[in-house]
């Protein structure tokens, strides 16, 4: 069964369409890049899959179910910006995730936090922007989820932090799960991707494996992206 499926999915903001009769099906066991220029509908799609937005029409299904309480238990979501409560200390944040998610592996999270020398009594507010993003990512990747939805995980951080984030994703996801990484920084993520979806103006224009692109087109995903979305 597809872990994420969209059927004729439409989302409009006022009169502006963000997703326009979008259809896709994603199987588990892959790291998939959801790639597209700014405003192509990547974040909208991820929010719809998380139930943070309601579709104008059409359907989005996670593991065969409409987004809600049950799908939240199997989806681990990294928003595009830091959304964890700023007043919480690292320890309280760990308590929070442990209380609500049965698949949260606290020992793994603590190990990663220790590796970064993040104090347990330090509040999120006291941390730098980069550290906040790392902490949020650690919480998300410490879950043994069936689907990881990562919205711009490497946007706005320095190259060293990008490497850390990508390594954290690769080393912590369950191989039977699906990881969807939304980004337009393709060169940085290309090395970790198995499959890509190009999205533009709310529609899927390409879904292919990375190997297939290299073999058939004879170019990297980054080069193909630049060609397809040439201004």
């Amino acid at each position: 069964m597809a872990i994420l499926e969209c059927n004729e999915l439409v989302k409009t903001y006022g009169h502006a369409p963000a997703l326009d009769h979008l259809n896709l099906s994603i199987e588990p066991g892959h790291i998939l890049g959801l790639l597209g220029p700014n405003g192509s509908g990547k974040t909208t799609l991820i929010k719809l899959a998380n139930g943070l937005l309601t579709p104008t029409s059409g359907q989005v299904l996670v593991n065969g179910a409409v987004p809600g309480k049950d799908t939240h238990a199997i989806v681990s979501y990294l928003p595009e910006r830091t959304c964890i409560p700023l007043w919480m200390s690292t320890r309280k944040l760990l308590d929070f995730y442990q209380d609500f998610y049965a698949d949260f592996r606290r020992d793994r999270a603590e190990e990663m936090l220790q590796h970064l020398s993040i104090r347990m009594d330090q509040t999120i507010r006291q941390m730098s922007k980069g550290t906040r993003e790392k902490v949020q990512l650690i919480m998300v990747m410490s879950r043994a989820a069936k689907l990881y939805l990562l919205d711009e995980p490497i946007g706005g951080v320095d190259p060293a932090t990008r490497d850390y984030i990508l390594n954290t994703i690769i080393n912590n996801y369950d191989p039977e799960a699906a990881v969807i990484i939304s980004t337009h920084l393709i060169a940085d993520v290309e090395q970790v991707l198995d499959e890509v979806i190009f999205i533009n103006q709310g529609q899927v224009i390409l879904q292919s494996s990375v190997d297939q692109i290299r073999e058939e087109k004879g170019m990297s995903v980054d080069a193909l992206f630049r060609e397809v979305f040439k201004c």
């Binding site: 006022g14 998380n50 139930g51 943070l52 309480k69 049950d70 928003p79």
Partner: protein, 269 residues
């Protein structure tokens, strides 16, 4: 899951309400000492200090009452409609559980605020001549006697009255929360001007409520319910039952609006 939501809700709110309670109780003690030693002084400086301490106490009392409402509104806004909403609404819990956790915790804080305010008044006037004079006064004894007469003549059941009033107060607190929640849930379902629309919908709900209540209380059938040859206690019970029933109905409407909006028209952009 509701229990866990409430646990974290208490954690989030206690860090604000706890210090606020202290901020009221400490000036209450200071006000007590000011009344004892400073306010009667003939010297200007102690007199001024006593006045300032009394003012701090009064401001603290007012601030606590206001802050408990502000906190209830702000917590809903930031935790659900702001960035934190991305975390809250992706928890494996239902929107009903989220709303209930907010209502219960806010109501508990309202009750705690009432208790602390009463406690602060007791601390402020503890063991002072002014209180002794009031309790020993002729008027106070007359009032007590009148109350006894009333209880005897109309067969007033004071514990029953107290319980009904407490239930009504608790319900009113919960309904007040729901009125704010419903207004914010509707206001934030729009793409723009979410804050302004939330305020607008709060007043729209208030207007609709006053309008419908006015129509209802004006009905002859409604007024006759209380004048059908019953005695005083029966009248009171019936009136309280109607008031509690109305609060339940209003609360139910706000609850449905809030949960429906969060479920069907959630719009975290």
């Amino acid at each position: 899951m509701l229990r866990k939501l409430m646990k974290h809700e208490f954690r989030a709110t206690a860090r604000i309400m706890g210090p606020l309670f202290l901020i009221v109780l400490v000036p209450a003690l200071a006000a007590n000492l000011a009344i004892r030693f400073l306010l009667d002084s003939d010297v200007f400086l102690p007199n001024l200090l006593g006045g300032l301490l009394m003012a701090a106490f009064v401001i603290g009392m007012a601030s606590l009452a206001i802050m408990s409402i502000v906190l209830m509104v702000n917590r809903f806004r930031t935790n659900l409609m702001g960035d934190e909403g991305y975390v809250t609404f992706t928890l494996p819990v239902s929107s009903h559980q989220i709303v209930w956790s907010k209502i219960i915790v806010s109501t508990v804080w309202f009750i705690a605020t009432g208790i602390v305010e009463a406690l602060a008044l007791l601390v402020c006037f503890f063991d002072l001549d002014v209180m002794r004079n009031i309790f020993n006064s002729y008027y106070f004894h007359q009032a007590l006697q009148a109350l006894h007469e009333l209880v005897k003549r109309y067969g007033l059941n004071v514990p029953a009255i107290a319980i009904e009033l407490i239930v009504f107060c608790l319900l009113s607190c919960a309904v007040l929360c729901l009125e704010f929640y419903a207004a914010m849930a509707v206001g934030h379902s729009f793409a723009n001007h979410k804050g302004a629309l939330s305020v607008l919908f709060f007043f729209v709900f208030q207007f609709a409520l006053q309008f419908i209540s006015g129509l209802l209380f004006n009905l002859d059938e409604f007024q006759n319910m209380f004048y059908t040859g019953m005695n005083g206690m029966q009248d009171f019970h019936q009136m309280m039952a109607v008031l509690i029933g109305m609060e339940l109905l209003i609360g139910a409407v706000y609850y449905v609006v809030t949960t429906l909006m969060l479920k069907k028209r959630l719009n975290l952009q």
